[in-house]
């Protein structure tokens, strides 16, 4: 949050007010653009999801679905309407118009859907439960997993990047570079299964004889709440997920620092007799971290959209698995909700990245 010192002279307060006003105008303009963009995206996504080959009726009936059941399902899912009407009902609901509920060809009752503009994302074809309820059950799990993964990744990547840069071409740098390449190259599904094999199937706790780490899930069933238990369930998925991010962020920070280290202002700092630590950590790192912060903001949507492979391998009930299942089963309402919410997160993260960049780097202005 921005603040203004009460002792600041009026002119300084004025500058802050002007800056705040510019920032507010900028955010407002971007938010209005976001709404328009989301509206356009909703049309494109709705069309793509519906036009894609394979439909929910075949996904539901398996190999054989009887015509009698098809007719019932079409009506219940609203698929008996033309595509533009389906989109309008999805957007605005159908409680303002009459629908044919019993298949006799007569529109006899008002619909029951309110539409996403009024917060009704419909019901999942698979479970017949409200879509937002389905998402609400999974979102906290994904935020937990991906939030911790990102945090761990940063805590490791930042020191790794710094030491690699200041000890360029040292043994440590070579090792870190090798680790980074490996981290980016190793497929998550392979690494995840390997870790399960090692830490669940092979290695045992010497005192209890139990596996060293659980193979998946979020907690021990019927074990009651235990922080240690929660952490033990997080270890393997977090390690699997963090490896790629560690590699990415550490390489980025290394090259960012390497660009800054030869700059004249650092040479001046050294010439003024500042200790090397102070030069690196106070003057070089503060500038090198700016693009990292922007990157971090752009990666924020992953915290909400999850990671399909990690959630699948480690039986973590998050958004990634929900999305994958909805896509495979052509659960259109659920799929659309995840896509639209995901798109909104991405757009807002971009906005956040722009704001942060300008906030952290005084050379950038909100224009």
């Amino acid at each position: 949050m921005l603040s203004v010192s009460p002792l600041a002279p009026p002119a300084r307060a004025g500058v802050w007010l002007v800056r705040l006003s510019v920032l507010a105008t900028y955010i407002l303009r971007r938010l209005i653009e976001t709404i328009g963009l989301l509206f356009l995206l909703s049309i494109i996504l709705f069309a793509l999801v519906n036009i894609a080959p394979g439909g929910p009726l075949s996904a539901f009936g398996g190999k054989r679905i009887r015509p009698e059941k098809i007719e019932i399902l079409k009506r219940q899912f609203g698929l008996d309407q033309p595509l533009p009407a389906q989109y309008i009902y999805w957007l605005t609901g159908n409680d303002w118009t009459q629908v044919d509920t019993d298949g006799d060809g007569t529109k006899d009752m008002p619909g029951t859907r309110k539409g996403i503009l009024r917060g009704d994302f419909g019901f999942s074809y698979r479970t017949r439960e409200p879509v937002l309820q389905e998402i609400g059950l999974r979102l906290p799990n994904t935020i937990t997993l991906m939030g911790v993964t990102m945090l761990i990744a940063l805590l490791i990547a930042i020191p790794l990047g710094i030491f690699s840069a200041i000890r360029q071409y040292s043994l440590f740098d070579f090792l870190a570079t090798g680790f980074s390449f490996a981290g980016q190259a190793v497929p998550e599904f392979w690494l995840g299964l390997l870790l399960i094999l090692i830490f669940y199937a092979w290695l045992k706790n010497p005192w209890t004889g139990e596996p060293l780490l659980p193979p998946g899930g979020m907690f021990t069933i019927e074990g009651g709440f235990s922080l240690t238990d929660r952490i033990s369930h997080l270890v393997l998925p977090v390690v699997t997920g963090a490896l790629g991010w560690i590699a990415w962020y550490s390489r980025f920070l290394r090259s960012s620092l390497l660009e800054i280290l030869p700059q004249n202002y650092l040479r001046s700092a050294r010439a003024r007799g500042l200790p090397e630590r102070r030069v690196i950590y106070r003057h070089a790192l503060s500038n090198a971290l700016i693009p990292i912060v922007t990157l971090l903001a752009l990666d924020l949507p992953y915290i909400f959209t999850g990671a399909v492979l990690i959630e699948t391998i480690f039986a973590w009930p998050g958004m990634g698995r929900l999305y994958y299942q909805a896509a495979v089963e052509r659960d259109y309402p659920l799929l659309m909700a995840v896509l639209i919410i995901g798109a909104a997160f991405i757009i807002l993260s971009n906005l956040l990245a722009d704001i942060l960049y300008a906030y952290l780097d005084p050379r950038v202005r909100y224009e």
Binding site: S58, R128, L137, I143, T144, S286, G318
Partner: protein, 582 residues
Amino acid sequence: MSTKSRTLLFLTISVIASLVLASCGPSSTPTPNAAPSEPQGNALPEPDTNKSITIVIAEDPPSFNPMVADTGYDALVMELVMLGMTDVDPDGNVFPELAAELPTSDNGGVVLDEEAGTMSVTWKMREDVNWQDGIPVTADDVIFTWNAISDPTNGSWIPGSDYIDSVEKVDEHSFTVNYRSIYPGYLTQFGGEQLVIWPAHFCDLEQGFVAWDCGRQPLSDGPFTLTEWVEGDHMTFSKNEKYYMTRKPELDQVIVRIVPDDTVRKTMMMNGDADIDMWINVNTINELKDNASAKVSFSPTERWVMRLFMNEAAKGTIDPAATPHPILSDVHVRQAIRMAVDVDTINNQIFYGLAHPVWTEFARPPYACELARPAFDPEAARTLLEDAGWIDTDGDGVRECHGCENAEEGYKMEMEFITYAEYGEPLELTQQLIAEMLGSIGMKLNISVVEGSVLWDLAENGGIEQSGNFDIDLWDDGYAGVDPTDYIWEAYSKEAMTPGNGWNFFRWDNAAVDALIDETYTLDEQTRKDTFCAIADFINEEVPEIHLFTVPNADAYSARLEGVRSTANDLVTWNIADWQTK
């Protein structure tokens, strides 16, 4: 504020936010989806860990009502908490659950009106079955269930429902189903692997059969009750103390864990942390064969017959008479394909010898037909193709039409060969091997793999099979339960050739078979057997499909568990009340 301070401030906020998020993990307390607490009470005794088992499955069941989404996982958990009028054992015998006895003509339960061609079935129900809240299960529940199913707005469709005229209550524990025609599958119509009876006093008819809350928060009359459901993670079931069978179930607790990855499920079985892994594939069967912790239960019969479907209408059309397929409309070509596919090699090289060669639709009781196994004879296949006017004159290894039945002179014997992706590697390898085998007799097959939902979609959505847009397809099919009557109509009747009417998408048109299919709608078992075998002869002769093999219907179970009997007629939990731990 300096740039450095701003950056550090942001990173600090990020770290704190992540920590806060991490602490917001889910709790293991029951979700709102858990079963009503009243029937179970809060003072359940602690389950004996030795009498607690864990079933691992790939995904959450959508509900306890398989009629809604039919994923198999719904039927698996349904068997734990709900009962139907009847069920089917692994050998194909129908046995009563809520029914006191099976209605037959002999015991007066079935009354036929030969003149009108109608029948009525009177069911007598057990009087000692209660819901978990103590209220008896009665005929009112059956009537309620039927009314919910047949509701045009929120209902569904069950096999044979079109034949039902009415369902009437006789007394508290008996009811009559009046049919407008003869329906041989009546015994499993209100039972089997998909349909159960729902509690009238607990389910809300206004919410509808497919969407009512009791579909996910069921009131049990089965061996277990649902006590907790953490979506995407696990479900916990406790012994139903009010279950009607004395001293059953033997187990105190069943935990169903959601573990999407099959390798992890297999590892958990081998590590002794899981007791049941359903529908295991041949790779897992092969890996578990010498394992001390896990065993494999095989069903005595197998439902899914892997087969080749050959389109008799030209690709993209649906009328085999007006637009015959240039290659496959000739019965000699279809017979040659059958001769050229070496099922035993496929079995040994891909399925570890665990598959069972099958060469007829009627390969399992009670309607198993004796037919000689077609010989694998690629040389005879080549001769048959030569005689049918398919000769490779340009020496490129692919035959061309030179006097063939339905193609232009010089037409290449080249076709598309499709299978579906979801089955996985064994099917794709099978597809490649068959393409090689047919390539060796001069038939070029271009293979492709598509999603099942694309292959089987409606014609109006561009579904490949329904719109006739294929040459040869490979996938596994077969009838559920023990009555093939409706399945045979759907697969082989002329009426089922029309897109949307059924699954005769290979467009085999045979008037004699149509007449035979009509004859199968009788309760005379001997007539039915004879008629099905007559149909089998026609299929064997004209080869509209090539039946190849069945793969084992198998489930893995832990060595400490007894009583597990896999079945092709139901889910492995069909007899969970009988399971016990060593």
